[in-house]
Symmetry: C2
């Protein structure tokens, strides 16, 4: 018996791998976590592929990791997670709880925005730490994502900014708002960003509707992109990267 | 007509996704690039799954990207690549050539060691640039991978070192040799590594034989791990990461 944490990659149920499908077929319960990212699973097709029904679960359910792990003591349980399970969130907690409770927790990798972003033309080897831009609330506007950008810039590394895909007060954070917020913090701090700063914005990476835009800060601010959105502010660009970015101009 | 660059992830043919299999079924030629990483595809099973035979191709074939792209003018061609196609090598060249020749090049993401390494317990958001440790040759012992490590350390970021899986002079670079080489450069330069420096070594990530070892530099140097091997030297560890590393001790 085990808890199987299954990455579904960036797309829909057709992004499942053969070995993931084999595992799902032997599970007695299949949960889908859809709060950390936008997930596009067609439940009917999923059932046709695996013979299983999906139960959608929210943050509270998943964050009670101890309970979820212990439920796998006597049956095979699957938790479907967007992207690569250990890339963007704190699912490592399941492994810790598994060790404590002596219950097997298996992780099944899949495509992640963190590497799919290579499509934009920059070397993934030259990215620094990733910055998450949260959807701010009235009294909670953290600026810590700026520190990550500043550190990466200091050593010439590219920064990937992931924009929170969740709604707050009935509204998602747009690319324009995220960029303006970043600029506002920057103007109080290191002044690294100008209207000409090169920005690479990506939407729906790894999906049919995938879109990549390259331009100046002012140009990109005018783009209306659909979630999930991420953008990159490059560090030092080599010749190859400069050339590659031209694919999108 | 198009050139389809298909990431096969970290494992064997069972790591193919349903949409990748759909694409492969309509291709008239399927090439497998197996020089940038260790690939474990069972050709018989692959044929059973997709109905296609694989033609293994070497570096010269793949690096002649212009020719490969132009061959997709009149037929559907697939190139299978280990991991996520744009994560570790220079396959962006295909996109550039596709644009120049006005031939469609499509990329199909899959699992990559760059994110699967999250299994080790460190936050992927806190990794800096990736360092590749080449298998050195008599007259070619580059030290540039050290600069990457040094920059990451300067701003507190973790460093992932990928060890070249290829043979040079009939021999692969072992974990021990890679660590000793790194230490030798370090002792000439910044002296950031001691015998107690924490090292996380991973072997066969995402595969059945996956192994993760956490210990001091001296302890890990004694581990004999099978290729593909990577290791991490952490930057600043937070409380959660310290706890997570204990899974492997």
């Amino acid at each position: 018996m085990a808890l199987h944490i299954i990455g579904i990659g960036l797309g829909d149920e057709n992004g499942l791998t053969l070995s993931q499908i084999d595992t799902l077929k032997k599970c007695s319960k299949v949960f889908l976590e859809d709060y950390t990212n936008v997930v596009h699973i067609n439940e009917k097709n999923f059932e046709k592929i695996t013979g299983k029904k999906i139960k959608k679960v929210g943050r509270d359910f998943v964050e009670d990791s101890e309970k979820l792990v212990s439920s796998a003591k006597n049956e095979e349980i699957a938790l479907l997670v967007s992207g690569d399970p250990l890339s963007a969130t704190t699912h490592i907690e399941f492994l810790l709880d598994g060790k404590k409770q002596n219950i097997e927790v298996k992780v099944y990798s899949n495509a992640s925005a963190l590497t799919a972003v290579g499509l934009a033309g920059l070397s993934l080897y030259k990215f620094g730490a990733t910055a998450s831009v949260p959807n701010p609330e009235e009294n909670f506007k953290p600026e810590s994502f700026y520190e990550i950008f500043e550190k990466n810039q200091r050593v010439g590394l590219h920064t990937l900014f992931l924009i929170d895909p969740n709604e707050k007060n009935g509204k998602k954070l747009s690319l324009k708002e995220a960029l303006e917020w970043l600029k506002k913090i920057d103007s109080k701090k290191k002044k690294l960003i100008t209207s000409k700063t090169k920005i690479i914005a990506c939407s729906n990476l790894g999906r049919e509707k995938q879109k990549i835009q390259v331009g100046s800060f002012e140009e990109i601010k005018k783009q209306e992109l659909e979630h999930p959105i991420c953008f990159i502010i490059p560090g030092e660009l080599n010749f190859k990267e400069e050339e590659a970015l031209k694919i999108y101009s």
